[in-house]
């Protein structure tokens, strides 16, 4: 059983024990448009909650992807460099960005669940 939470910056985070898988939401990819490039962090880097963890570029512009929580980068999705379009096609599956070893589980408390995030996106329209 995994838990998925969401940020106000449109990242999703799936908690699998002490590991978190992170990506951007379907709403985020739809706003960005066709993704042409991603820059992922190096393994072992410590990222801080709310700070830049990756960069995603569409035809039009570059955007930061922020770490939903703090932790150490233990894996990145290397398949994205050859096929960044996976982020548009399957943002919450094959389009994942990175995995973190969770530093402080309490940080998860401030994130939204699926229902709260859906309402948050609805309010943006």
């Amino acid at each position: 059983m995994s838990t998925i939470k969401y940020t106000r910056d449109h990242e999703w985070i799936r908690i699998e024990g002490d590991v978190a898988v992170i990506g951007i939401t379907d709403y985020a990819q739809s706003q960005l448009g066709d993704v042409v490039y991603v820059e992922l962090p190096e393994l072992g880097r410590r990222v801080e909650q709310g700070k830049e963890a990756a960069v995603v570029e569409s035809v039009k512009a570059a955007s930061e992807v922020y770490a939903p929580i703090s932790g150490e980068v233990i894996a990145v999705n290397d398949a994205l460099s050859g096929e960044p379009g996976k982020i548009n096609g399957d943002p919450q599956g094959e389009g994942w960005f990175l995995k973190l070893r969770i530093a402080n589980p309490k940080e998860l408390d401030g994130l939204m669940d699926a229902k709260a995030y859906a309402a948050f996106v609805e309010d943006l329209h």
Binding site: G33, D34, E57, V59
Partner: protein, 367 residues
């Protein structure tokens, strides 16, 4: 801060009904993309045909005795030498040889037809008004402007205006398009064959829908318009050219015809003549970043030692070039094709080379 409400083109309702994502651009609420997205719209334009709303651009007519002479006092292009029906790209220059705007001028039967940039149109029209002498200028605020671009554009337009495919590249004529009185030019800003249609505003939506009903045609927004013109190596005013970039630096001296070089008589003629003789200190060039990371407008260009040698003025991903492409200004000593440079992207120097423009070959209809 109180902002002026955004203006709308005659096609605004159509854009919204097609599901466009609307953004503010030059004071207008404009479609940046439709649901199919920038990549698909770009590639479709190169493969078949795209329909663009460019009604935000300024259209005007110059009439009366001496209209061409009057315009030549403001631009370095040979306007008097334009044969009937012929069209030319030119520039409003300032006294330093900088660029106030770029524009298209067509010699129609009894007038000159001008198309200028949206963001500059108010000042362009005021500038014209001040210098016209006996000629008269009429802004055509009641006309929309549609661009139909791509290799299928001529076949599509032939169904609605049988005379359109007979137009040569960079020429124009008054034609009925599906019964609507239009001024049609064979021109555009994508590097592809195509047409621009100046249409009465009240007929624009119907004509646009009629064109979109043709199987080859897809609506295309400003996002793909930008990536198409960048791949074609064409300048975007306010980015690649402005008052501080001279005509020679911008590598647009080809737009100063022989007679005008010899005679001068336009703003900045002396400065431009000096620069043509001595060479400009910097030059607009094409730049190909190595790898896949785009380098955006504003990116600093350095040499191997980290010293700044220039700046990117347009940059992004080229869907047809299948990689990042950019234009910018570099010191003349660094402008040779193939020269290696570094681009400072997010604080990291990344390798790039000076590349020939355009990035994608032009496919204009040369007749």
């Amino acid at each position: 801060m109180v902002e002026n409400p955004l203006q709308r083109t005659p096609l605004h309702r159509l854009h919204v009904s097609l599901g466009a994502k609307m953004v503010p651009f030059a004071g207008y609420d404009m479609p940046v993309q439709y649901p199919s997205g920038i990549m698909a719209e770009h590639l479709h334009t190169r493969a078949r045909a795209g329909l663009f709303d460019v009604s935000h651009m300024g259209q005007a007519r110059l009439v009366g005795a001496g209209a061409a002479e009057a315009l030549e006092r403001l631009v370095p292009g040979d306007i008097k030498g334009l044969a009937p029906g012929r069209m030319r790209y030119t520039l409003f220059t300032n006294d330093r040889g900088g660029i106030l705007d770029d524009l298209m001028v067509t010699q129609a039967d009894d007038h000159l037809f001008l198309v200028v940039n949206a963001a500059c149109k108010a000042q362009d029209f005021a500038h014209l008004q001040r210098h016209l002498g006996a000629a008269a200028m009429t802004p055509l605020a009641d006309r929309a402007l549609l661009a139909l671009q791509g290799p299928a554009a001529a076949a599509v337009l032939a169904r609605l205006a049988p005379g359109a495919p007979g137009l040569a590249f960079m020429s124009g004529a008054a034609l009925a398009v599906d019964g609507v009185a239009c001024f049609v030019t064979r021109s555009g800003y994508t590097g592809e064959d195509g047409f621009e249609l100046s249409v009465p505003a009240d007929a624009a939506e119907r004509l646009a829908r009629r064109l979109l009903a043709e199987p080859e045609v897809m609506p295309v927004g400003l996002g793909a318009r930008d990536s198409l013109r960048l791949e074609a190596g064409l300048c975007l005013y306010g980015h690649d050219i402005d008052e501080t970039t001279t005509v020679v630096e911008a590598d647009l001296a080809w737009a100063i015809q022989k007679r005008r070089r010899a005679e001068g008589g336009f703003p900045g003629a002396a400065a431009i003549a000096r620069e043509l003789a001595a060479g400009a200190a910097r030059k607009r060039v094409g730049i190909r970043p190595e790898g896949r990371a785009p380098a955006r407008e504003g990116t600093e260009i350095t040499d191997d030692t980290g010293a700044t040698v220039g700046r990117i003025t347009s940059g992004g991903f080229g869907p047809s070039a299948d990689g990042p492409v950019a234009m910018g200004y570099v010191a003349a000593s660094r402008a040779a094709l193939g020269s290696a440079l570094k681009l400072m992207v997010r604080g990291t120097p990344r390798p790039a080379r000076i590349a020939p423009l355009p990035f994608v070959p032009h496919r204009y209809h040369r007749g």
